[in-house]
Amino acid sequence: MTRVVANPRHGDLRNLLSVADLGPDVASGINRVLTLTDSFVEVSERAIPKVPALKGRTVVSLFFEDSTRTRLSFETAAKRLSADTMNFSVGTSSVKKGESLRDTIETIEAMGVDAIVVRHASAGVPLQIAQWANSAVINAGDGWHEHPTQALLDCYTIRQNLGDLAGRQIAIVGDIRHSRVARSNVAAFSALGAEVTLVAPPTLLPPSLEGWPVKVSHDLDSVLANTDVCYLLRMQRERMTEALIPSLREYTATYGLTERRADLLPGHALVMHPGPMNRGVEIAANVADRPNAVVIDQVRNGVAVRMAVLFLLLGSGIEWGGEIDA
């Protein structure tokens, strides 16, 4: 009797810079991360939520832009995998004194790190860093470009609550133009077969949607009745001064998820938000507290998803793209 046993070493997932890095078949890449996340959700629910998988590995968070939530989520994930964590806080460091990006990376690498988690206000910085770094680079948000782990945790949260994303109607509402979350989520949701509608005033949409697998609406009310997931983006005050919207009040009146609008959603529909929420602007305070608002689930799943990503990049030894199952 002979049996062919597959070789799992095929592709390469060295960095996670964008949702497209999970390809060439993005959907199966996402599904692989989500399946692995199940195991880490189980780990997170234990009395001692910690496994030794990344013992001896070092993960550094390099945040050029403040984001305590994302940084804590990554650091918690790393610690639950028994990795050592370092925090290179840029706000007060040499970078402010004119040190070049490349020098910063070389300095950090000289300390011996295995993964660099990068947040930067400029699009593309994680990609640039990946060209210079030997360690794995994980994009924790770059400018308006991408935030791939947010997309993964959002996919996981939807799957957890509604099952398969295929055929689901997802409305992403708000400041799409300036949103890395929107760019990653459009890529991930549509790869998994969901139908995405962007709902925003034209000033808050990207100048061109060529190649985006989305529909566009400027009328939130008409979209809601046929929506499985209403994904709200944070509305920032400075958009007013840039003449993109007349006022936050008018924004709330036209694009905010008010109680009246939330009642238009089907009973099963989820309300999601990447946080931090502006209660009373893009989401009414008590809509955020309804049981179908799964914002806290998103945060909780964020840790497990990031454990899965760190484990895939540092611990599994699995190379990407190949089939694991014999």
């Binding site: 070049s100 400029s122 699009a123 640039q128 990207p206 100048p207 061109s208 949607l209 060529e210 985006w212």
Partner: protein
């Protein structure tokens, strides 16, 4: 070499390069294809010891010309043309000598086949006074690799607030004024600049970098499909087109000459085409990168592709090519803009704009325009030699037909030789070429400045 103290309007002198230190006994170029504004033929070119062309013709008798001792260069298969003229070069000196100096930029120019370049005034300090003009002119003369001409700023400090002393600079030979790096935003100030410039004792050209800052501010690449996808703030094509439109109107209002720098959008090319059809005194240039590269290159987030005006769409590239083909665009200008690796290895939105151009321009013209049949070789050379010489006001010396008595500013290049761009091999002090690893056709063999080789067999001579 240019004489910084020469009198204005000294047009009688054909040659302004000091040849006295040269031990040259003349040169004979055998068997080349001579292309200039008067034609395209196979001929030998004899260069006299005084730096002028002694004779052009088949099977020249060197001894009969008194050039029996002149070394002979076999240039069979090569094109012999008037030296190239770049009307848009950033030499960085004074102020940013770590990126480029007048000497290193002149060397890059010579290697690219150029015998004259026009230095842009956005140095530190700005070239907006006679003193800085003199400084750049004398450094160019000392380098001796190229005829370094100087353009002056339209406004003091390129701040767009007050007119710079154009007459004082024109007296030193400045024929082109520009605030390049930005456009003159104030409509009234631009009108006054045009009116004032038309009354100077010599004809000068105001060259505009067309960009309405109210629309472009905060942008770092072309606004469109790729900027949307990459999450990089964009610069709409209309930011360029609005200023082209305004300046065409001002050219009509004032009757003054306007030159449009680095046209990059289909709309801008069309506006210039219409203005020319109406007989307005406008000229324009385009850069090699705007007829070669598109905004899709930015997907790498490599700041080497960051340039202003930004790389545009494939349709815009096609429009620039069409503009070159139908003569709407008069000149190919490099917008050679060196930046050190330190400043270019920054986040895309922090990195400065600009890319190298001098050493790749001719090859890109051959590869992207002549080989696909968009331009004839004569059209390419017109756009790189005699037409830009006219715009820069130096056509009395540069871009002249290769005939007895004309100054021997020549480029000799092999239009079929392939070479691969290696940033580390470029003569520029910087390495920010977007063409690294690209294989191009067309290689400069020799460059002659006033009969003296600045480049011989592809090697700079000093």
């Amino acid at each position: 070499m240019p004489d910084p103290d020469r009198e204005p309007n000294n047009r009688s002198r054909k040659v302004d390069v000091d040849n006295s230190t040269s031990t040259s006994s003349g040169w004979i170029l055998r068997g080349g294809r001579v292309v200039d504004r008067s034609g395209d033929r196979v001929a030998d070119v004899a260069i006299a010891a005084d730096g002028t062309v002694a004779a052009v013709g088949l099977d020249l008798d060197a001894a009969g010309l008194g050039l029996a001792d002149a070394p002979v260069l076999d240039v069979t298969g090569c094109i012999v043309a008037p030296g190239l003229v770049d009307i848009h070069t950033h030499l960085r000196e004074p102020g940013r000598e770590e990126a480029e100096t007048i000497e290193s930029g002149s060397r890059a120019a010579a290697l690219g086949g150029f015998t004259a370049i026009v230095a842009m005034p956005n140095t530190e300090p700005t070239i907006d006074s006679a003193a800085v003009v003199r400084q750049v002119q004398s450094a160019g003369m000392a380098a001796g690799l190229c005829d370094v001409r100087v353009s002056g700023a339209i406004t003091v400090g390129r701040e767009g607030k007050a007119l710079s002393p154009m007459a004082e600079m024109a007296d030193l030979g400045v024929r082109m004024f520009t605030d390049d790096g930005c456009g003159v935003q104030d409509d009234r100030l631009m009108r006054r600049a045009l009116e004032y410039s038309s009354g100077l004792s010599v004809p000068v050209t105001l060259a505009q970098h067309c960009e309405v800052e109210a629309l472009s501010e905060g942008g770092h690449m072309h606004e469109g499909e790729w900027s949307s996808r990459l999450g990089i703030p964009g610069i709409p094509a209309e930011a360029e087109e609005l200023m082209v439109f305004r300046d065409i109107a001002l050219a009509r209002l004032t009757g003054a000459r306007v030159h449009f720098q680095h046209l990059s959008t289909a709309g801008a090319v069309e506006l210039v085409r219409q203005a020319k059809a109406r007989g307005l005194p406008v000229t324009s240039e385009a850069t090699p990168h705007h007829f070669t590269l598109t905004h899709a290159e930015v997907a790498s987030y490599d700041p080497v592709f960051k340039v202003n005006p930004p790389l545009r769409t494939a349709d815009d590239v096609a429009a620039v090519k069409a503009g070159l083909a139908d003569g709407t665009i008069d000149a190919i200008a490099t917008d050679h803009a060196p930046h050190t690796a330190e400043v270019k290895e920054a986040p895309f939105d922090h990195a400065p704009c600009g890319m190298l151009g001098l050493e790749t321009a001719l090859a890109l013209g051959v590869t992207e325009l002549v080989e696909p049949g968009i331009l004839t070789m004569t059209q390419l050379l017109a756009a790189m030699s005699w037409q830009p010489a006219e715009i820069a006001g130096i056509a009395d010396i540069h871009g002249l037909p290769i005939e007895t008595g004309s100054p021997a500013h020549l480029v000799v290049f092999d239009p079929t030789e392939e070479w691969t761009v290696d940033p580390s091999e470029l003569a520029s002090l910087s390495a920010n070429t977007p063409y690294a690893g690209r294989t191009l056709r067309g290689k400069v063999r020799h460059t002659m400045l006033c009969g003296v080789p600045t480049v011989l067999d592809g090697k700079a001579q000093r």
